[in-house]
C-alpha cells in the first residue's frame, strides 16, 4: 500500500506534502492534478512534511491535491533498445510523445516492449551466478547486448532454466534463477535501477592504464585521456565547447557514446538528431546514430529533470559497461546541472555556499565523477566509462565553484581559451594551461611507450617545453620589439608556432584532418620535433616568419592529405627540400 499525502504548500516547483505514512529521501511520487499526474522527487523530510521537487510546471496546482508516494527512487529501465533513442532527463522516449509541444504529465515508455530480439543463451543451467552475470545475449544494432542477472539481486543464485535460442520480446522471462533458500526468481531482458545509486556489479576498478584514442591531436598527443578516465572542458561562450564535444562523440574510439545534453541549446541537439543518422563512425563504418544515445534536457525543459538527466545518462553508461563495453559519456554542461541544484537549494532556504551554490556541491560533483572508470567484471572481461563534462564558468572566470570543484576530481583539464578562439585556432584548447594527470601515471606512460613509440612521453614533454619557451619568447618580442631581441627568440617563437599549427590546430570540418590516428600522430610529432631540433640560422629576423610559414604550410597540407598517400608524400618531399635549403645555408656559413 503506497503512502498517500496532500499538498499543503507550493513555491514554484517546490511542493510541500503532509502525510501520515512513511516517505523516503529521493522517493518518487505523483501529484494528482486534474486528469494528469505530475512526477516529483522527495528532497527533504521534516516531521510529517515532505518537501518534493516537481519535474514539471506547477501552474494551477492547488493545496489539498492528492500525492501518491511510489516506494522507490527515480529509476531507469535498462534493456535492449536503448541505443539510438532520444530520451528526456527522466528517460521518456521523446519520439513517442505526440504533438509539437511537450505536454505536462505525459510520460512515455523508454523501451519498445513489442520488438522481438534475436536471443542466444550464454549461461548454462546449474551455473552459479550473481548480479551482473551474463545470462544471454541479443543483437542491439551491431552491439552484442548482454542480458544480465539484475543488479538488484544480492548474493549467489543458481540458474534453474534458460530459454532456448530464439526471438523474444524484452518482457518475456528468459531465465529462472533460484536463490540460497531455493526460492525462484524470474528474469526478463529488462531491469530497473535507481539512477542516483552507482551500479557496482564488477570485481574491481584498477587505475586507468591505457589511453582512449580520440583522434584529436591536442588531446591524444599532448594531454591524453585514459580509457575509464575523467576530464572536463571549461570555457567561456563561443570558445567551441560544443563543437569539441560533438567531435569527440564522432571520432572517439568507443563502442558507444551517451550524450547528456543538459540545460543547453535545443538547436544543438537538433544538429545531432539531423547529422548523426547521416554520419559514419570512422571505425565501424556504421551510422554514428547506431552507437549513440541522447539524453536531451535542453535549457527550456523543466529544471528539476535537468539534474536527473546526468544521473540517467550515467546509469545507462554503467549498464553498458557491465556488458564489457567501452562507453564514452559526455555531459554538456555540468554547470547547468549545478545551477539546477542551486535553484532548489535556494527555494528550500538553505544556507548558501559560495556564489549561492549548495554547500555540498563539491561532494556531489566528486561522487558523480567517481562513477566513471575502467572495471574488471566478475567473468574476467573488462569495461569502461570515460567521462568528459563541459563547464560553463560564469563570466569565463575559472575561479568559480563549479570549475573549482570539478578541477579537484577530474584528471584531465582541457582549458578552452577565448584568445585562441578569437584568433580561430581550433580546437581552442590552451596547450599551456591544460593538463592530463594520466601522463604522470607510470602505467600510462609505459603503455604509450609500448604502443605508440619508444620514448613517446619524453617527446610529448619536449613538445610541451617548446610551446612554453615559445610563449615566453613571444612575450619578450612584444615588450622589446622585433629588433630588440636576439634572433634566437624569433626562432624559438616560430618553433612553437610550428607545433601549434601542425599538432595543436585541427580542422574539425575537414574530412581527413578531423580525426588523426595514433600512428599518424606519432609520425607527425616526430616529424615536427625533427624540425624543431634543427639549428636554424637566418640573416635577418624578417626572414624567420616567412620561412616557417612555408614549412607550416607544407606540414598542414600533409595533415589535409590521407596518411601515406601520394599527396601526403609529395608535400613531405617539398618540406624536405625546404629543410635542405637551410642545411645548405648552414654549410655555406660554416665554410
Amino acid at each position: 500500500m503506497n503512502t498517500i499525502g496532500n499538498v499543503t504548500g507550493i513555491i514554484a516547483n517546490l511542493v510541500i506534502v503532509e502525510t501520515e505514512g512513511t516517505t523516503a529521501q529521493n522517493e518518487i511520487c505523483f501529484i494528482k492534478h486534474g486528469g494528469t499526474r505530475l512526477m516529483a522527487e522527495v528532497i527533504k523530510v521534516v516531521g510529517n512534511k515532505s518537501f518534493i521537487q516537481v519535474f514539471e510546471s506547477t501552474r494551477g496546482l492547488k493545496t489539498g491535491s492528492e500525492v501518491e508516494f511510489m516506494g522507490h527512487m527515480l529509476e531507469v529501465t535498462l534493456g535492449p533498445g536503448i541505443l539510438s533513442k532520444n530520451f528526456d532527463g527522466l528517460q521518456n522516449d521523446l519520439n513517442k510523445m505526440e504533438g509539437v509541444f511537450l505536454k505536462r504529465g505525459e510520460y512515455t515508455e523508454p523501451l519498445d516492449m513489442d520488438k522481438k530480439f534475436e536471443y542466444k543463451p550464454l549461461a548454462k543451467e546449474g551455473d552459479k551466478v550473481q548480479a551482473g552475470s551474463w545470462l544471454g545475449e541479443v543483437r542491439e544494432n551491431w552491439i552484442p547486448h548482454k542480458i544480465m542477472v539484475p543488479f538488484k539481486f544480492a548474493g549467489e543464485y543458481t540458474v534453474k532454466s534458460l530459454k532456448k535460442e530464439g526471438k523474444y520480446t524484452p518482457d518475456e522471462t528468459i531465465a529462472v534463477l533460484t536463490d540460497g533458500d531455493g526460492k525462484e526468481h524470474k528474469v526478463t531482458m529488462i531491469q530497473k535501477w535507481p539512477v542516483k545509486v552507482p551500479i557496482k556489479a564488477y570485481k574491481h576498478k584498477p587505475r586507468p592504464f591505457k589511453i582512449m584514442e580520440t583522434g584529436i591531436r591536442v588531446m591524444d598527443t599532448l594531454n591524453p585521456m585514459a580509457e575509464g578516465g575523467t576530464g572536463f572542458i571549461p570555457g567561456p561562450f563561443g570558445s567551441g565547447k560544443t563543437v569539441l564535444q560533438h567531435n569527440l562523440s564522432k571520432n572517439a574510439e568507443a563502442d558507444l557514446v551517451v550524450i547528456a545534453a543538459c540545460g543547453e541549446r535545443a538547436n544543438e541537439v537538433v544538429e545531432i538528431f539531423t547529422e548523426f543518422p547521416e554520419l559514419e563512425d570512422p571505425r565501424s563504418g556504421r551510422k554514428l546514430m547506431e552507437r549513440t544515445t541522447i539524453i536531451a534536457n535542453t535549457s527550456n525543459m523543466p529544471v528539476a529533470a535537468r539534474e536527473a538527466s546526468v544521473y540517467t545518462a550515467m546509469t545507462i553508461a554503467e549498464y553498458y559497461r557491465a556488458m564489457g563495453l567501452k562507453v564514452l559519456l559526455l555531459a554538456d554542461s555540468t554547470s547547468r546541472w549545478a545551477q539546477a541544484l542551486r535553484e532548489m537549494s535556494n527555494r528550500m532556504e538553505e544556507l548558501p555556499g559560495p556564489d549561492g551554490f549548495p554547500m555540498d556541491l563539491s561532494a556531489i560533483i566528486a561522487n558523480f565523477y567517481a562513477r566513471a572508470g575502467f572495471v574488471y567484471l566478475s567473468n574476467g572481461e573488462s569495461g569502461s566509462i570515460t567521462f568528459i563534462g563541459t563547464v560553463s564558468p560564469a563570466g569565463g572566470n575559472l575561479k568559480e565553484p563549479v570549475t573549482e570543484s570539478t578541477k579537484k576530481v577530474a584528471r584531465c583539464f582541457y582549458a578552452l581559451s577565448q584568445q585562441r578562439a578569437d584568433s580561430k585556432r581550433y580546437p581552442a584548447i590552451d596547450p599551456i594551461e591544460s593538463y592530463s594527470k594520466y601522463l604522470e601515471y607510470p602505467e600510462i606512460s609505459e603503455y604509450l611507450n609500448e604502443n605508440i613509440s619508444e620514448n613517446w612521453t619524453d617527446s610529448v614533454l619536449k613538445a610541451k617545453d617548446i610551446l612554453l619557451r615559445g610563449k615566453e619568447a613571444y612575450e619578450q618580442i612584444n615588450i622589446l620589439g622585433d629588433d630588440g631581441v636576439p634572433m634566437d627568440y624569433h626562432i624559438r617563437y616560430w618553433k612553437s608556432e610550428l607545433i601549434d599549427f601542425v599538432i595543436l590546430q585541427q580542422d574539425a570540418f575537414d574530412k581527413v584532418d578531423a580525426s588523426s590516428s595514433l600512428e599518424r600522430q606519432d609520425y607527425m610529432l616526430h616529424k615536427t620535433l625533427k624540425i624543431t631540433d634543427f639549428d636554424f640560422s637566418f640573416d635577418s629576423f624578417e626572414d624567420v616568419g616567412p620561412y616557417f610559414k612555408r614549412l607550416i604550410n607544407a606540414l598542414k597540407q600533409m595533415n589535409y592529405s590521407e596518411f601515406d598517400s601520394d599527396k601526403f608524400k609529395k608535400n613531405e618531399k617539398e618540406l624536405e627540400t625546404m629543410l635542405k635549403e637551410q642545411e645548405k645555408e648552414e654549410a655555406k656559413e660554416e665554410a
Partner: protein
C-alpha cells in the same frame, strides 16, 4: 471577511502582510500561478503555504490597504490570440492600448516547450541588407541572437531597420522599459514603412511599473507561437531591452527574500532567460520564430551576469561599435558571431561567401595589428599601409550599418577592395574562386 459574488468567485478583504511588491492573505482552493485583482491591480500567486497565499502585484503595492478587495481569476495570465492582433499595440497585460477588444481564443502565456525531436534544423537565410550582418554574421530563421550594446548606441534603430528589411510575415515587438520616445520611434518607423499591419507590439515603457515587464516577453512569444504554429508564418520577435527585464526579475527575487547570486541577479537567471530565448524555433510545417534581442551592457562589460548568461543561451551575438576612422557605427566583425551562419552561407548564398568573409576579416585583423604597431611608434611595412587603407574602405563600404545591398553586391564590393589593395596570394582564397570571380570583378 468573505462574501460570495459568483458561484466560484470569492472576494477577500483581509490582507495581513504587505511588502513593496507582494501581499499575503488567507484563501482556499487557489491555484499556483493564478491571477488575481487586488484593489483593481493585476497580481499573480507566487507562493502558497497552507491557507496563506502570497500575491505579487505587478503595478506595485503603493496605497494598498489591509482591507483591499482581492478577487481571484481562477486562471493564469493569458492572451487572446487571433488575426485581430496584427497592427495593434498592447500593454503588458495584453490589453489594446488604444482601447477596444480583441477577437480570438484565449491562450495561457508561458506555455510548454517544443519537443526537441520535433524541431527542424534552421536553414533559411534572413537577408537584412546590412553587410556587417549578412556577410559576416548571417541570420537564420529559428535563430535567437541579441545585440550587445552600450546604452548610447543606436540599437533600437538598427533593430527596426533589420525588422523591416527581413522578409518576415509578422514582426512582434516586446518593449520592456522602453522610453516613450523610443516606443513612438518604433511606431513611426513601422507606420512610415507602411508595415504597421505586420506589426504586433507589447509595450512596457519607463512610465509603467517595472515588475509589469515580466509579462511582456511571454505575451509577445505567445502571439508569435500563434502566428508560427497556426498560420505557419515566419515571425520575427524583437525583445528590447532584456537587461531591463532581468532587472525586474532581480527586484522580485529580492522582495521574495531569495538569496542573490552573481551581480545580485536571481540564481535562476539562466533558466528564466533560456525559457524565453528557446521559444525561437523552426517548426516542421514551415512556420518559425526568430528572436532578435537587445542586451544593454554597462561599459562594454560582457562578464556581467546578464550578458554572460545570455551568451550561453543565444546563438551568437552582434556587437555595435563606433568606428572613429569613418565616424559611423559598424557591426564589429571580431566580437560579433552568428553560430548558425554555417547553415546558410555558401549554401543559400554564393559558394565563395565563407571564403570571402574569412579573408576580409583576416585582412581587417592584419590592419588592426598594423594600427597597434603604428600607435607604438614602430615602422610600417608596405603591406601594413595597404591593409590600413583596406580597413578604412571595408569599414565604410561594408561594415557600416547604413549599408543596404544584397549579398552578391557585398561579395562584389569585397572583391573590388581586395583587388584594389592586394594580390590574390595575399588574400588567400581558393584559386577556383579567384579565377571565377576576382578577374571578372576587375
Amino acid at each position: 471577511m468573505e462574501k460570495d459574488t459568483k458561484a466560484f468567485q470569492r472576494v477577500y478583504t483581509k490582507l495581513f502582510q504587505l511588502t513593496k511588491a507582494t501581499v499575503s492573505l488567507s484563501a482556499k482552493g487557489i491555484g499556483y500561478d493564478e491571477l488575481a485583482i487586488v484593489d483593481g491591480r493585476l497580481a499573480q500567486v507566487v507562493k502558497i503555504m497552507g491557507d496563506i497565499v502570497t500575491l505579487q502585484i505587478f503595478g506595485g503595492t503603493e496605497g494598498i490597504a489591509t482591507n483591499a478587495e482581492v478577487i481571484f481569476a481562477g486562471k493564469p495570465p493569458s492572451l487572446k490570440v487571433g488575426e485581430d492582433l496584427a497592427g495593434r499595440f498592447f500593454n503588458a497585460y495584453g490589453e489594446p492600448m488604444e482601447g477596444g477588444d480583441i477577437m480570438g481564443d484565449e491562450r495561457e502565456i508561458g506555455g510548454p516547450s517544443v519537443n526537441p525531436v520535433r524541431r527542424m534544423q534552421p536553414s533559411e537565410f534572413i537577408p537584412t541588407g546590412i553587410a556587417g550582418i549578412d556577410l559576416n554574421n548571417a541570420l537564420v530563421t529559428g535563430q535567437k541572437i541579441p545585440f550587445f550594446a552600450d546604452p548610447d548606441q543606436p540599437y533600437n534603430q538598427v533593430m527596426a531597420m533589420v525588422a523591416l528589411r527581413a522578409k518576415a510575415d509578422k514582426i512582434i515587438l516586446a518593449g520592456m522599459g522602453l522610453t516613450r520616445d523610443d516606443y513612438l520611434y518604433f511606431k513611426n518607423v513601422f507606420d512610415n514603412a507602411g508595415a504597421l499591419d505586420r506589426i504586433v507590439g507589447f509595450i512596457n515603457t519607463t512610465e509603467d511599473p517595472p515588475v509589469e515587464r515580466l509579462l511582456v516577453p511571454d505575451m509577445a512569444l505567445s502571439a508569435a507561437e500563434y502566428f508560427a504554429v497556426e498560420k505557419n508564418e515566419k515571425v520575427l520577435v524583437l525583445l528590447t531591452d532584456m537587461t531591463l527585464y532581468a532587472d525586474a526579475l532581480s527586484i522580485v527575487s529580492n522582495r521574495m527574500d531569495q538569496i542573490p547570486s552573481k551581480d545580485s541577479m536571481p540564481g535562476s537567471l539562466y533558466s528564466d532567460l533560456a525559457r524565453l530565448y528557446e521559444k525561437a524555433v523552426q517548426f516542421p510545417d514551415g512556420g518559425s520564430i526568430t528572436i532578435i534581442a537587445v542586451t544593454t551592457l554597462s561599459g562594454g562589460d560582457i562578464t556581467h551576469a546578464v550578458p554572460d548568461n545570455t551568451g550561453y543561451i543565444t546563438e551568437g551575438q552582434l556587437f555595435l561599435r563606433k568606428d572613429s576612422d569613418i565616424g559611423k557605427v559598424i557591426v564589429d566583425p571580431f566580437r560579433s558571431l552568428s553560430r548558425l551562419k554555417q547553415l546558410v552561407i555558401g549554401k543559400k548564398t554564393r559558394e565563395d561567401h565563407p571564403q570571402v568573409m574569412n579573408a576580409a576579416v583576416r585582412l581587417y585583423a592584419d590592419a588592426a595589428n598594423a594600427k597597434t604597431k603604428q600607435e607604438n611608434g614602430f615602422d610600417l611595412t608596405d603591406y601594413d599601409e595597404r591593409s590600413l587603407k583596406f580597413a578604412r574602405d571595408y569599414s565604410e563600404k561594408l561594415l557600416a550599418i547604413d549599408v543596404n545591398i544584397d549579398t552578391d553586391q557585398m561579395l562584389e564590393t569585397a572583391y573590388g577592395l581586395f583587388s584594389k589593395y592586394f594580390k590574390p596570394a595575399e588574400v588567400g582564397i581558393r584559386q577556383e574562386f579567384v579565377d571565377k570571380f576576382w578577374e571578372k570583378e576587375k
